[in-house]
């Protein structure tokens, strides 16, 4: 790399002009990242866009068809269902996660002994493989009493006389996948909010108490505003990830029954790999991009405000 002589000159330079002329080093250091990014992200995106304008059917050569895929999907009621499902799935999961995340953070914040232990314990769902989480919850909701937790317990408690097939109806299936997604994600929210709460200065609470605010008012007027930044960031991040989630729904329901839980990612997979229509499959994912861009733009604005300091 740089020789001693250069180092000498460089240090001279840095004494006079701190940290200028780093571009060479920077390029060198960033090279692997740029190669990765251009070759395996940017280039595929470009090809994705190109594919969306063709009628590529696997095994046959592709033909340019312009906007045909887009028009087809815009008029396809299966796709309308997919969009609706994706939004329902995402918004419900995120809402649940915010609320339970706050609750979890409050509980942990108020815990003195073994806080680290409990915080660690509660992160368990977050580190578990999504496939295993999906399988687990599929069994939890199973309709055979030997396999389904809820059926076993409710039957034994006498609250049910016959096993219920929770995932057999569209609503039930959506509820099941939302719960699985929520369970997987709320610890991340909880831990983030906890970290946020811990960085709220104690004086603000004291000041509020002095002003006569009870615990609820303190929460509303001190805690929540203090967490505003985190809440926004985590919500946006989760929204972005969930709207394109594949694993949970694919493993739990494959998008069924019918198309009741089909979302962007699973439908794109189905069209591309089962119906072998790559042109249309890619277009499905591209439809989610505007939502994505909006989300990314917002996140960037919030997260980068502090970075550029």
């Amino acid at each position: 790399m740089l020789s001693r002589a250069d180092a000498g000159g460089r240090i001279e330079a840095s004494r006079r002009h701190p940290r200028r002329g780093d571009t060479g080093t920077a390029i060198l250091l960033l090279l692997p990242l740029l190669v990765l990014v251009v070759g395996l992200i940017v280039y595929p995106i470009y090809r994705a866009v190109w594919l969306s304008f063709t009628d590529k059917l696997v095994g046959y050569p592709e033909r340019f068809v312009g906007l045909r895929n887009y028009i087809y999907l815009a008029n396809d009621d299966a796709f309308h269902t997919v969009v609706r499902n994706s939004l329902v799935f995402t918004v419900s999961s995120v809402a649940l996660k915010i609320v339970t995340g706050l609750a979890m953070a409050l509980v942990l914040h108020a815990t003195w002994r073994w806080r680290n232990f409990f915080r660690g314990l509660m992160l368990l769902p977050w580190i578990t493989s999504t496939v295993i989480i999906a399988l687990t919850w599929r069994w939890m909701f199973d309709s055979f009493p030997g396999r389904g937790f809820f059926n076993s317990v409710l039957l034994d408690l006498g609250l049910l006389s016959r096993p219920v097939a929770f995932m057999a109806t569209p609503e039930g299936a959506m509820l099941a996948v939302v719960i699985a997604n929520w369970w997987r994600g709320f610890p991340f929210f909880g831990v983030s909010y906890l970290a946020g709460m811990q960085s709220i200065p104690g004086e603000l609470y004291e000041a509020a108490s002095v002003d006569g605010a009870g615990s609820w008012r303190r929460f509303w007027h001190v805690t929540l505003p203090g967490l505003k930044h985190i809440i926004i960031v985590t919500t946006l991040l989760t929204f972005i990830f969930t709207i394109n989630d594949f694993n949970i729904i694919y493993v739990m329901t494959r998008g069924g029954p019918g198309t009741a839980t089909q979302v962007f990612a699973t439908y794109s997979y189905e069209v591309a790999f089962n119906q072998l229509r790559w042109g249309r499959g890619v277009t499905i994912s591209i439809f989610a991009v505007p939502l994505l861009i909006a989300g990314i733009a917002l996140v960037s604005r919030y997260l980068l405000r502090e970075r550029t300091a």
Binding site: G59, A168, G256, A260
Partner: protein, 450 residues
């Protein structure tokens, strides 16, 4: 060069006479270079001993010829996608086992070698397949694959349940539905039927059997699109949706995976279901593994009590969809002669019988001499006799027309099982669903021609 040598051989065998050919235990293999290296793709069935037996048969060929065979598997779930991915990536195997619609599809894509001459030789040595199987492998007068066996579906029932309620064993779809209603005991968690309209052969295979038995086809005799908007299809859809509406099935049947009907049947939660012989295998296997006396007795009862009936008939006849497995050679094969030699070896009656013995009745060979050689095996009991007769009721995808790329695509697109699902789950009317399905089928035929 290749064709010349083969035709000389068939001339020779023809000259020597049919009886001489009969005397040969297996097909005289074409000369292949030593050190040939082949990739063979075979179906991974649910009966593990069968898979191992096929692999062993292939390795025997390899040893005999000083060649190498690498066996790779595909499953029921990914059999379409895996091949198509290989075609897309230009790394197709040398020899591939092809399911019912695959020869049509892949030959249509120009991927398979024309095996007409080789097929004639095999015909001379091992015999022909029955007429209803031939359409699978012959396209436009040319043969693209050699059929080996059929893996059909049967109608499994628990005899004791039928006897208890004095219900006759069903022969038609209407019988089956009536029986299901009679045997239904939801309070005991026992249901009369377990038929899922899912995206596996248990779903689209039965749907096709239902359609064809009622005389409905989405393609005509020439393989061209014809509309399914008729009264017979209405009857088909009625059967397909009534079994859900009338509560004679467990509530979550529609979301069953490929294996859940097996489990439900074996656990005696349903009285009837359509399935391949793998249920018999599972029961026989469990009996073989049973340790204590009580367990053993329970399993013996299960084996004795379960009946594999011929698949139900409809007003138009008894037609059952099944997997017809054949061997094709891909154009990317570097050593087509070795490939054909391997196929001839596997199709020989001797090898077929060996694999059969490990198959627990899963598959029914189709070439004459192989069928003859396995007659004893299928005489074991009533179930096995039905297994052996499977070729009689077999019809291929796209009945009454030939198997075409478009027909195979219709099956692969899941439109057949999605149609009843839309009525059951999304509460569409039967007419709406039929219209929707018809539109989708027409679209496929418009894109793929034929």
């Amino acid at each position: 060069m290749r064709d010349r040598r083969l035709s000389r051989r068939s001339l020779l065998t023809g000259a020597v006479g049919a009886s001489a050919a009969l005397a040969l235990p297996r097909v005289a293999a074409p000369q292949i270079k030593k050190g040939a290296n082949l990739r063979l793709w075979i179906l991974k069935t649910y009966v593990e001993p069968t898979n191992k037996a096929v692999e062993a048969a292939a390795q025997r060929w390899a040893q005999k010829h000083g060649a190498q065979v690498t066996v790779e598997y595909f499953t029921f779930e990914d059999m379409q996608t895996k091949y198509v991915a290989a075609i897309e990536n230009k790394n197709t195997p040398d020899v591939g086992q092809l399911e019912t619609g695959a020869p049509a599809r892949f030959a249509g894509m120009g991927q398979l070698l024309d095996l007409t001459t080789f097929a004639r030789q095999v015909e001379g040595d091992i015999g022909k397949a029955p007429a209803n199987v031939a359409p699978v492998t012959v396209l436009g007068g040319k043969t693209y694959a050699l059929p080996w066996y059929i893996m059909p579906a049967f109608w499994y029932v628990w005899r004791d349940e039928f006897e208890k309620k004095k219900v006759k064993l069903p022969s038609t779809f209407e019988d089956a539905k009536a029986a299901a209603t009679a045997l239904n005991r939801p309070n005991d968690n026992f249901y009369g039927l377990g038929q899922s309209w899912n995206r596996t052969a248990d779903g689209y295979g039965v749907m096709q059997g239902l359609m064809y038995s009622y005389g409905v086809g989405w393609a005509n005799k020439d393989g061209k699109y014809q509309s399914i908007k008729n009264a017979k299809m209405q009857q088909v859809m009625k059967w397909a949706t009534d079994i859900y509406k009338e509560g004679i099935q467990p509530a979550d049947t529609l979301s069953w995976t490929g294996s859940q009907n097996n489990e439900a049947f074996i656990a005696k939660k349903i009285a009837q279901t359509s399935n391949g012989p793998s249920i018999t295998f599972a029961l026989e296997n469990a009996l073989a593994k049973a340790t204590d006396a009580k367990d053993k007795k329970m399993r013996e009862d299960a084996v004795a009590n379960h009946v594999a009936l011929p698949h139900p008939a409809g007003p138009d006849g008894r037609r059952c969809w099944g997997l017809a497995l054949s061997f094709g050679v891909f154009k990317t094969a570097k050593d087509p002669e070795a490939a054909m030699s391997l196929i001839a070896h596997l199709l020989s009656p001797e090898e077929t019988v060996r694999v059969m013995n490990d198959s627990h009745g899963q598959f029914s060979p189709v070439l004459d001499k192989a069928r003859a050689a396995t007659r004893d095996y299928f005489g074991k009991n009533e179930n096995y006799r039905n297994f052996g007769r499977a070729a009689e009721w077999f019809v291929a995808t796209g009945w009454p027309g030939p198997v075409t790329a478009a027909a195979a695509e219709v099956q692969a697109s899941n439109v057949l099982t999605d149609a009843p699902a839309k009525v059951i789950v999304d509460k569409w009317s039967v007419d709406q669903a039929i219209d929707w399905a018809d539109k989708k089928i027409k679209e496929i035929y418009d894109t793929l021609g034929a």
